[in-house]
């Protein structure tokens, strides 16, 4: 017997469940630390050194350094926590959202203004939204 997790099969989507939360605990708590202005300054001054203060995996640190949000999510990150990295960089949420979709920010903004991504529309990997 195993737990039923039907949401594992939704295209282009990683549901932040207890399993992901376990993987991403320190990654997300690192993000949480960026709510304090002094931590944001220290992180921006030397990102690698700041990340090394956290018991995160090397993959997680590399994903943060590369601002690869999809990779961060695969490694247990949650978007509400990861958004604090974008805020530290002075980036809008729409910039971050676009970066996960393979679209330019301009094209993403146009898609939203046009009513958003439709159910069943094609995703970059050929699956349907």
């Amino acid at each position: 017997m195993s737990l039923d997790k039907p949401y594992k099969h939704v295209p282009g989507t990683t549901v932040f469940d207890t399993e992901q939360a376990r993987l991403g605990y320190h990654l997300n708590q690192f993000c949480m630390s960026l709510m304090k202005p002094e931590n944001r300054s220290r992180f921006l001054a030397d990102e690698r050194a700041y990340l090394n203060e956290w018991p995160m995996s090397e993959d997680q640190k590399q994903a943060v350094l590369a601002r690869d949000l999809n990779r961060c999510i695969a490694l247990g990150g949650n978007i509400y926590f990861l958004a604090k990295i974008g805020a530290t960089d002075g980036k809008s949420f729409q910039y971050m959202a676009a970066s996960m979709t393979g679209m330019t920010q301009e094209d993403y903004a146009k898609m939203m203004a046009g009513g958003g991504r439709a159910r069943g529309s094609p995703l970059p990997n050929g699956e349907k939204a």
Partner: protein
């Protein structure tokens, strides 16, 4: 005895708060959204309750991953707006109602819903944006607010049915309070939106509108909708909509009067839905 007079439902998109705080309501992008809340502000002036019981979720603000309560009730005398990374919103401090909050906690826990009691907490856009939409920019909020938090960030979140039944227990607790207060219950969050992954930007207008129809007319059937449908049809963050079922469950079984209904796409990445339902 206290009386539930109406329920209010609204999305709580952070960008809406920023648009209000930066005076962008008249800009072409935002104007249609704020126009949809004009009737609500007029209605609120006529129907200001003694207390608002406001159901929302924290977005990695007051609760990190250190502790994740499924349901939490704010019993403090006041709640300060949080700094979510760009400074606290310039909105008034929220006054709580510790007496009614403690009474509801007592009653609801005895009805088998294990609430976490929170006596010190900052509140984020999930709570302050709906207040701004309904009241505008007052010097002080016109009534006390009891924050009620639901975990919809880390899955599994509570089921729609559990939320609806919790709403019933809250409605019962309000009716058992022996002061003549008028109370509104607000459900916030949603509607369709996905903020993560290659599928970010998902919006589902027809699903959202069917949800609004069912919330009004068939809430008990709506409460049985499984999580996977919210995620598939309304996006991973659309799951916030289970919180609306708490407010709906608090109402009597009589058909409500729809005082206002509004739907708009987009606010930033999100479909905005809004309802006011009065007890009849």
């Amino acid at each position: 005895m206290a009386k539930l007079s109406a329920t209010v439902y609204s999305s709580h998109v952070p960008a809406i708060g920023a648009a209000i705080d930066l005076g962008k309501q008249k800009e072409p992008y935002w104007q249609p959204l704020f126009r949809g809340y004009e009737p609500s502000k007029l209605w609120m002036r006529e129907h200001t309750p003694d207390v608002i019981f406001l159901v929302y979720n924290d977005h990695a603000t007051a609760f990190s991953l250190k502790m994740i309560p499924t349901f939490a009730i704010g019993c403090a005398a006041e709640f300060t707006p949080a700094d979510e990374g760009w400074g606290p919103r310039p909105v008034p401090v929220i006054k709580g109602h510790p007496e009614l909050a403690s009474h509801i906690a007592h009653s609801v826990i005895q009805d088998d819903f294990d609430l976490t009691i929170v006596n010190e907490m900052e509140v984020d856009h999930g709570l302050t944006v709906p207040l701004s939409l309904m009241f505008g920019q007052p010097i002080a909020w016109p009534c006390p607010v009891i924050p009620f938090l639901v975990n919809v960030v880390q899955y599994p979140v509570p089921s729609g049915l559990r939320c609806f039944n919790l709403g019933r227990a809250i409605g019962k607790a309000i009716a058992l309070y022996d002061q003549p207060l008028t109370v509104q219950v607000w459900g916030t969050g949603g509607m369709s939106h996905q903020l993560q992954g290659p599928r970010a930007g998902l919006i589902n207008r027809s699903w959202d509108n069917a949800f609004l129809d069912e919330l009004i007319d068939e809430p008990q059937a709506l409460a049985r909708k499984p999580h996977i449908e919210y995620i598939t049809e309304a996006g991973s963050e659309g799951i916030e909509l289970v919180m609306w079922l708490i407010a709906r469950g608090a109402m009597s079984e009589r058909a409500p009067r729809v005082a206002h209904r509004f739907y708009h796409v987009p606010a930033s990445n999100t479909a905005v839905g809004h309802l006011i339902l009065e007890e009849t």
